[in-house]
Each structure stands twice: as C-alpha cells, then as structure tokens.
C-alpha cells in the first residue's frame, strides 16, 4: 500500500473519530431544547459532556492539521472553497466553547438563558453544516484545473448536500439522545430513551435516502458493505434502546456514525475532492498528497501518539463514568 493511501485512511479515521465524539456533543447541545424541561435538566445534559467536549473537539483540529500536512492541496481547496460555511462553523465553535465555560460564571437568569440558547444554536448549525460539507465533497464540486473551487456559495446548497446536512443533524441528535440515556439518571433518562426512538426512526428514513443516493451516484462494493453495516447498526441501536440496553444502544449508534462516514470516504476513494467540471481536474490521493518523506515522518508521529491519545482520552471517560441526575447538580455558583 502506498503511504498516501494509508494517510487517506488516517484522515478518514480522524473525521470518523470527530463525528463519533463531537456527534453526541452536538446532539446534547441540541437536546438542551428538545429534551431538557428546566435549567436543572439542561445543566444535567451539559455536564454529561462537560469534562470531555474540549478533548472531543481536538479531533477536528487534528483532522484539519493532518489534512494540511498529508494533503496540502485537499486542505487548500476545501478550506478556501467552502469559505462561508466554514466561517459559520468557526463562529459556532467559538461561541459554543465560550458558552460552556461562561454560562455558569454569573447567576443572572438572562445571562444563563442567553448562553443556553447559544449552546443550542451553535450545536445545531455545525451538525447540519458538516453534513452539507461532506455531501459536497463526495458529490464533487466545480474545481478548475488549478485545483481551485470556482462555484458559488449557492452551488454548495444543492438538494443532495442539504439532505446530507439533515442526515447528520438528526443522526447526531439521535446519537446524543442515546448518550444522554446512558449518562443520566432519573426521569430524564427515561425521556431520553423515548426521544431516542423517535429520533432514530427519523434518522433511519433520512440516512437510508442519503446513503442510497450516495451509493447510486458514486458508490462501489466497499461502500455498499459500509452502507449495510450502517443500516444494521442503526436498527441495532433502535432495538437496544427499546430494550433498555443503553450501553449497547450507544455502541450501535456510534457504529452507525463510523459506518456512515466510512461509507462516504469509501465512495470517495481514490479521489479526495472530485471535480464536476472535468474528471481530470479532480483532486486525488496521489495528485494532492505531500512528499513521501513528509508522509513517513507523519506516519511515525501518528503511530506513536494516536494510541497514547486514545488511552488517556479513554481514561477520562472512565473517570467520569458515573451517571448524573438533577440531584448531583450543585446550586449555581455562589456569586
């Protein structure tokens, strides 16, 4: 296997890791409006991801950095081409991070309500926009011979990509509801299960449509296999959730994300950003990758440090393994 193929897989793994982890973070943020009925419940939800959301978000930074290092042209074309959606995502991630840290710093009702609203919207928009972005990557966009995106913003908002956006939005919310059922205790836990069922069914409809559309447009044998895994995993998650097996349900909803995002990358390969103007202008793993030396250096770094990251991030989840209920939420800051 050529190193740039390996790096295609590693980039896919980083994005999959990001969507798996920040997927439920986004979901929790959205559920602060859908599931939580009062401030205490909103705080329960926020605190289920409190210690981990920042580490989860680093998967995105690593995916971005690794793309820059391993596929400079992919990074350059993608980030300059999708300027406006990425700007919106940036604004959301900035406000969202600050919201988590600042909401509890003052006890004023308006202050807290505003930050809570911010958490909701800044979780919802990226969850949608990432789907739009990946829909466009897989579908192909107008890339010229200099590898520059020459389409407009409106070209990115095509039906296929918008369906992709809706799919990730609902899928992440479902994943978040399953996570909430796993991490909370008391009444909210039961309601999380019920909402998970509803969200899971909507996800099933949307994901099926999106994945079949993808499979017909740009699929291959491997992506078909991944599609089947994704669908089965989603059914598994629904079933486990119904049976009250929350750990299994979360495992399966996670597997759904892994398989669905994996499916997108499988149908993409060996392109990384196909051009709709001329297939010869498409960015591929070979024409947009770094030199062999750089890839070798980065491979060594990845092989040494990725397991380490998994180890200490995994440990964090173990440390904060206890379920949280309204009874665990301390009175608002004594200020």
């Amino acid at each position: 296997m050529h190193l740039h193929d390996l790096w295609f897989i590693l980039i896919a793994v980083l994005w999959i890791g990001y969507f798996f982890l920040e997927g439920f973070d986004f979901g929790i943020g959205i559920l602060t409006r859908l599931l939580a009925r009062n401030t205490a419940e909103r705080r329960v939800l926020i605190n289920t991801i409190g210690p981990v959301w920042d580490g989860n978000e680093v998967w995105l930074l690593t995916a971005g950095g690794a793309t820059f290092a391993a596929f400079p042209d992919w990074y350059a074309t993608l980030f300059s081409g999708f300027f406006v959606p990425l700007l919106v995502i940036l604004v959301c991630l900035i406000v969202r991070g600050v919201s988590f840290e600042y909401r509890h710093q003052r006890s004023g009702e308006r202050w807290q309500r505003n930050w809570e609203l911010a958490i909701f919207w800044t979780s919802l928009l990226p969850a949608f926009l990432w789907g739009v972005a990946f829909g466009n990557i897989v579908r192909g966009v107008e890339i010229d011979q200099d590898k520059n995106y020459v389409g407009t913003l409106w070209d990115l908002l095509n039906p296929y990509a918008l369906l992709g956006g809706l799919t990730t939005l609902v899928l992440f919310t479902f994943h978040g509801a399953v996570f909430a059922a796993l991490k909370t205790t008391g009444e909210i836990r039961l309601r999380a299960r019920v909402q998970a069922t509803v969200l899971g069914l909507i996800t099933a409809a949307l994901a099926l449509a999106f994945l079949i559309w993808t499979q017909i447009d740009s699929g291959n044998h491997w992506s078909l296999a991944a599609t089947i895994v994704a669908v089965l995993a989603l059914l598994g998650a629904l079933g486990a959730n119904q049976a009250g097996r929350e750990g299994w349900a979360f495992g399966f909803s996670g597997l759904t994300i892994v398989a669905a995002v994996g499916m997108l990358f499988l149908s993409l390969f060996p392109d990384v950003m196909p051009s709709t103007l001329n297939p010869d202008w498409s960015l591929t793993v070979s024409n947009s990758s770094s030199s062999g030396y750089t890839l070798k250096v980065m491979t060594v770094v990845a092989v040494v440090f990725t397991p380490l990251v998994l180890l200490y991030q995994g440990w964090t989840y173990w440390v904060f393994r206890r379920r949280i209920g309204v009874q665990h939420i301390p009175a608002t800051a004594h200020h």
């Binding site: 409190g50 700007l87 900035i94 200490y312 939420i329 301390p330």
Partner: protein
C-alpha cells in the same frame, strides 16, 4: 484601491487581528497553567490553606482565559486554508507537519487534562489531580514549541528543497525544522515573555488586593495571606522571566541580524550601512527619501546588538533593499517593510516589556521577607507587606501609594509588548510570507472574492470585540472579588474507584457547568 492589493490587504488585516487577539490569551494561558500548577503543588505538599485558595483563585482566572485561547486557536488553523490557500499549497509539505504534530501531541494533551482538572477535584486522588494541571502546563508549552517551529520556518526556511516538478517546497529534514536556532531562540523568547506576562498579571491583581488591605478596606486576612504569597511568587517569576526575555531577545536579535538583516535595519531605521552602527533612541524620517530627518542615537550600540562588539559594520536598509532587488528582481523599494511600524513596534516591545521587568525588580526588593528587615518592620503572613527601602527605612506614603498603583497599572504591559513584538517580526519580514521564497501577495486564496474576505474579516472582528467585552468584565469581576476563602478542599482524598458507600452516590458534584 486596486483589487489585487485589496485582496492581500484584507486577508492580512484578518490574520493580524485574529492572531494578535489570539496571542493575548496564549501567553497568559501558558504561564498561568504553570503558576497554578506550582501553587497547587505547594498546597499538596504543605496542606496550607493559603495555597489552596490561591490555586482556586488563579485557576478560575486561568480557565476564563484559556476558554478564549482555545476557541480563537481554531480560527488560526482554519484561516491558512481559507484565506491563504496558495500559501498552504506551497508550504503544506513542510509547514503542515509541525501543525499536525501540535494538534496530535499538544492540543489533545491540554484539552483532555484540562477537563480532568476542572471536573476532577472530587474524582481524582490529590496527587493525580495535581499531575493533570502539570500535564496542561506541559501541553501549552509543547503547543508553543510546534507552532513556533512552523513560524520559524517562515522566518528562515531550512530542511527543504523546491520540487522542480511542482515548484513547491518539500520537506527534506524535519529535525532541522524542529531544532534550527531560529526555532529554539524564538521558543525561548516567547516562553520567557509568556511568563513575564502571567507574572505581571498575578502581581497586578495581588497588588490590588494588598493595597486595599493596607487601606483597611479588606478585612479578610485569609484573602490577604493568599494574595501576599501570590505577589511574592509573581514578582520572583517576573524578575527571572524578565531577565530571560532580555537575554533571549538579545540572542534572537543577533540571529535576525544574520538571517533577516532587513528586519533589523528597519527596526532601527538604519538607512545607510554604518560601522560602527548606532542604536536609535528616537527618529523621524521620510520613507520615500530613504533617510531620517531627526535622529537621537547612541553610538556603537547597534553594532554590539548585532555582533557583540562596538565597531563592526551593520548593513542599512538602502543597501539591503538594493541587494534583494538585484537577487529577486523588481525595485529596491519593493523590499522595504513598513519602517514606521517596525521601528516603533520594536521600541514599544522593548519599552513595555522591560518596564514590567524593572517594576518587578523594585517590587521584589521592597517587599522582601522579614529575614532582611529590622524586627519592628516585619509583617505577618496574613498582612500586606510594608514597602522597605533599607533594613530600617520604609517608603514614604506618597511612594508607597504609587508603588502599589504601578504594580496594578503595569499589569497589562507585557501583553502590549507581546503584541508589538509579533507585529514587528511579522511586518518586518514583508514583502515575504516565507522569507526569500514566497511573497505575501502570492499567498492569498485566488478564488475567494474580496466581498467574501470582507465578510470574514468583519464577522470575526465583530465577534472578537463582543467576546473581549464579556471576557474582560468576567475577569474583572472575579479578579476584584478575590479568592473565595469559604471554599474547602474535599474532606477526604478521593479514590480512583469512586465512592463505595451509597450515601455518597447522590452527593452533588464538586464542580458543574
């Protein structure tokens, strides 16, 4: 304005604003992480209450600050691709590697362990919890190292070749990129300056509380105890870091004289090559004519700054520009950076930074411990220190008042110095984005319209402005409130296995968002 010029200018303004803004939080984060870690270490080792209160207090301000540092950092990584795609294509093979390493090695480290530290007070055994904040501190320093390695490559490209097929830079030696002298000295200079920044911040806020205590406006003695320790610790760090900043700055200057003579000539507004070369204290010049009309100079000092002796030759702007034009084509004026900004940026960097250092030096002496003082002037651990000139002589009321005020007022000086330092070094490199290899005007994303760029610039600037107001208000609120002396550490040391008895199962969390 010419559209091509607008294209470059808008993206440069965005990069400048977002980077200077981001770098207000970075040095505070780096230094406060270590300062909090030291205070917590003191608490774990001695069990003294004042260290616990100090840890919690500075930890709180640290967290308000790091939140902004983290989120503004995301923009930094994205905007290379968004606004500077041709730059990204040209340098990605080299520049991407340290960036990816920063994310994989440093960012994961900081962000994971900060979560453990914030939420782990009642979950982790004391010593493991302490280790977490040290991990954060190490993570922040590592992060600085990798990003400075990347920046140093822009200042002085090494360990690469230009691929003849693509015309792009290609990495040939990662070890050189990570260990070249530009990288090492820049890291040394940035880290020492970061510690000066955090120390001045601590000194300023501690001075505020101690001055209030001195005036009898603050009766809580436990607060005073925590602040007194913080003041002394801050002053000591400021002196060591200030000295380190001066030494590393001098070293970096010598490296730059060799690698980017134009930047240093511009820093001095030294138009003509001179031997010996003087250090300019003040100058007013006419850039279009290529000389200064008014200049106050100290002879020989610039030669010393460049080469460690008082007589050697230092090349001037006009000669260097002519040489660069001969080498790369075009007019000599194409190679002259903005002299006004570099000249004054350099001076303000040194001025603000060193004022802070001198203030700390004086503060460290006048607040010295009882061992050096006559018995009747010694103050208790929970009292504000007297400002002592000699063993027996206290400062008079007027100077005492102003000393405390200066402690407070100089709190932000290193922040200003840092900003001018970056503006100086980045603008002094112009017209190059990668020195000698790529011009800034060739680095911009060609496919991003001016309108879109303006949208990006305005959105981020407006958002940053709003967040600045919120963050400064929050910092001011908590800084003015002082340590919460009612707060107590967990009654028993938590175990990793968690609470075993059921009565603990419903206990509220020690910390929650």
């Amino acid at each position: 304005m010419d559209l091509a010029v607008a294209h470059e200018t808008i993206s440069r303004w965005q990069f400048g604003i977002t980077t200077v803004y981001h770098f207000l939080f970075v040095p505070l984060t780096i230094s406060l992480a270590s300062i909090v870690a030291c205070l917590q270490t003191a608490w774990v080792r001695t069990g003294k209450e004042k260290y616990f209160h100090a840890t919690k207090f500075w930890g709180k301000l640290f967290l308000i600050n790091i939140a902004m540092g983290v989120v503004t950092g995301i923009v930094q990584e994205f905007q290379f691709g968004m606004n500077w795609s041709d730059y990204s294509r040209f340098v990605g093979d080299v520049f991407g590697a340290p960036l990816a390493m920063e994310a994989l090695i440093a960012f994961f480290f900081e962000s994971t362990f900060i979560g453990l530290w914030i939420f782990g007070w009642d979950k982790l055994p004391k010593k493991i919890h302490l280790a977490c904040i040290w991990m954060v501190a190490i993570g922040t320093a590592l992060s600085a190292y990798f990003i400075l390695a990347a920046n140093s490559w822009m200042q002085h490209p090494v360990g690469y070749r230009i691929d003849p097929a693509t015309g792009k830079a290609q990495l040939t030696d990662i070890v050189r990129v990570l260990t070249q002298n530009t990288t090492l000295v820049q890291v040394f200079h940035t880290l020492t300056a970061a510690f000066l920044t955090g120390a001045a911040f601590v000194v300023g806020i501690a001075s505020f509380h101690l001055w209030r205590a001195k005036q009898g406006k603050q009766p809580d003695k436990r607060k005073t105890a925590a602040m007194r320790t913080s003041l002394r610790f801050g002053l000591a760090i400021a002196v060591v870091a200030g000295l380190g900043t001066a030494i590393s700055g001098d070293t970096l200057g010598k490296v730059m004289f060799e690698q980017q003579p134009m930047k240093m000539a511009a820093a001095e507004a030294l138009w003509d090559t001179q031997a010996p070369a003087p250090f300019s204290v003040f100058a007013v010049g006419d850039v279009s004519k290529g000389h200064n009309s008014v200049a106050l100079e100290i002879p020989g000092i610039l030669s010393f700054l460049a080469h460690n002796d008082f007589s050697s030759e230092v090349p001037g702007i006009n000669d260097i520009a002519a040489a660069e034009a001969a080498q790369h084509g075009g007019q000599p004026t194409d190679y002259i950076p903005n002299i006004f900004v570099t000249y004054w940026g350099f001076r303000l960097m040194i001025g603000f930074g060193m004022t802070s250092f001198v203030a700390a030096l004086i503060g460290l002496w006048t607040t010295r411990r009882k061992f050096w003082l006559a018995p009747e002037h010694r103050t208790g651990e929970d009292e504000p220190p007297k400002l002592m000139l000699t063993k027996n002589r206290e400062m008079n009321v007027f100077f005492t008042r102003w000393s405390w005020r200066i402690g407070i007022l100089t709190m932000g000086f290193p922040l200003i110095a840092n900003s001018f330092g970056w503006i100086f070094t980045e603008m002094g490199r112009q017209p190059w984005v990668v020195f000698g290899l790529m011009r800034t005007r060739d680095a911009v994303s060609p496919n991003v319209s001016v309108g879109t760029q303006v949208l990006g610039l305005c959105t981020l600037t407006a958002l940053y402005a709003i967040l600045a107001v919120i963050e400064v208000k929050l910092l001011a609120k908590y800084a003015a409130a002082g340590p919460d002396t009612d707060e107590k550490p967990p009654a028993k040391d938590p175990t990793l296995r968690g609470p075993s008895d059921d009565e603990d199962a419903d206990k509220p969390l020690a910390f929650a968002y």
